[in-house]
């Protein structure tokens, strides 16, 4: 099956197939990565439903969206796992998961678990702006347009003036994405660093469920 397209993952997410005993409820920005891991591991008992990735830009809406997805699918699966980290919800998503009796990924956000939570925390780099494979592909939809930089490029330094580096956390080796990420850094006036992370603790977390 072909991977879902990014625009759909951003706005609509991905529906469950109804096959499998374990349902993963994930951010749309992780769909391709989860499907790749699932294929590689032969984890046919896992099904995947994704919420719209654009919730990334309004994290206060994530907990309720996850709660609704858990309630909607609960009866059709033996168990459910939430493939979100805290993701800017300030502990609210953790409370929803606890109340719903489901587990979630450890860590503050995907940038952290892709790199490894301990390693990411140890870097303590506060002037880095991160992009993943998905966010490089969706840079315009998730960064440029929501911040109005397409219409008002002069606002760039009000948003990014205190940042120093754009770090592209690469999940895959893809020279085209590397070039796109470098162009994104140039556009934001930031130094560029590509950092290969692979799937990091997303992989180890899902392996534990396999």
């Amino acid at each position: 099956m072909a991977d879902p397209d990014d625009a759909t993952l951003a706005r609509a997410g991905l529906p469950a197939t109804g096959r499998g005993r374990l349902l993963l409820i994930a951010c749309g920005a992780l769909a391709r990565e989860i499907l790749a891991l699932k294929r590689a591991g032969g984890w046919n008992h896992m099904d995947l439903v994704c919420l719209p990735a654009i919730l990334h830009n309004t994290p206060d809406r994530i907990p309720q969206a996850v709660r609704a997805a858990v309630e909607k699918h609960r009866d059709a699966y033996d168990s459910i796992f939430v493939v979100y980290a805290d993701c800017g919800t300030g502990g609210a998503l953790r409370r929803v998961c606890d109340e719903s009796g489901v587990e979630m990924v450890e860590g503050p956000h995907c940038y952290s678990f892709f790199e490894g939570n301990a390693a990411f925390a140890a870097r303590d780099e506060i002037t880095a702006f991160y992009l993943t494979d998905f966010l490089v592909r969706q840079f315009d939809a998730f960064v440029i347009r929501p911040l109005g930089l397409d219409r008002h490029p002069e606002l760039r330094d009000m948003y990014f003036g205190n940042y120093e580096t754009l770090v592209y956390q690469a999940q895959t080796d893809n020279p085209a994405l590397d070039a796109q990420a470098r162009a994104a850094a140039d556009r934001l006036g930031l130094a560029y660093e590509r950092r290969f992370t692979g799937y990091g603790e997303l992989a180890t977390t899902l392996e534990r469920l396999a």
């Binding site: 919800t89 009000m158 205190n162």
Partner: protein, 235 residues
């Protein structure tokens, strides 16, 4: 009609029309027009404080209300703020000379580990517009910065800002340190930032959580006036 005929010549408007036009221009983020309008009103003999409150703060209040109501979004607010900054640049030195009313002094900064300052800068500007003196510590401030500045400046208010859920708990570190040093009640502590809410503000021991810049101004005014009343009653 040609574009030229449509153009509004600010200097040809009477005062009321000009203030209305400046509020519209502020809404549209037109910095040069705002600077021109400020200069025209000053040339007509307006006090700097009156220009500030009626044209700039009045316009920015409309922007703030429409942002709160979901009519305007962050980029438009930033453009409006940039326009207001242009006007403030002209007025600020004059305000100091003409003895505009002083509400109190606020030390403000983004907390340690956080480099985001858009909200903080908006609050600073609106507080200045409302007559508060601002000591802006910038970004990434450890507790020592706040406490040293509060004492050095003999400030009335501490404002702390954070955009990240990972950095907002640091506000409690600052407040706890103030408690330990026995100085917590010497200051009004206001906190703000996108991931915060009232519950968080209460939990960390702040005096108030401020949802946006307009609320920060109103809250600061209320607390300062309460403090003055208490001092008057006590004295």
């Amino acid at each position: 009609m040609s574009d030229e005929e449509d153009d509004i010549v600010l200097s040809e408007l009477d005062d009321d029309e000009l203030v209305q036009q400046m509020q519209d221009d502020l809404y549209d983020g037109l910095r040069e027009e705002i600077e021109e309008g400020v200069n025209i009103l000053l040339e007509r003999g307006w006090e700097p404080y009156r220009v500030l409150t009626e044209a700039l703060v009045g316009g920015m209040t409309i922007v703030g209300n429409d942002f709160r109501d979901g009519i305007l979004f962050v980029p438009e607010v930033l453009l409006a703020a940039n326009a207001m900054k242009g006007g403030m640049g002209i007025l600020k030195p004059l305000l100091a000379e003409t003895g505009a009313p002083k509400q109190g002094k606020m030390v403000i900064g983004t907390v340690k580990g956080d480099i985001h300052d858009i909200g903080k800068n908006l609050v600073s500007m609106m507080m200045e517009g409302a007559g508060f003196e601002i000591v802006d510590l910038g970004i990434n401030n450890p507790v020592e910065n706040y406490i040293e500045a509060l004492q050095r400046e003999e400030a009335d208010i501490l404002g702390m800002s954070a955009l990240l859920t990972t950095t907002m708990p640091y506000m409690k570190v600052v407040i706890d340190t103030m408690v330990e040093q026995g100085i917590r009640d010497d200051y009004i502590v206001l906190v703000g930032g996108a991931p915060l809410n009232e519950e968080f503000g209460r939990a960390i021991g702040a005096d108030a959580y401020c949802r946006d810049a307009a609320v920060a101004v109103e809250t600061a005014k209320q607390f300062v006036s309460r403090k003055h009343n208490q001092m008057a009653a006590g004295g």
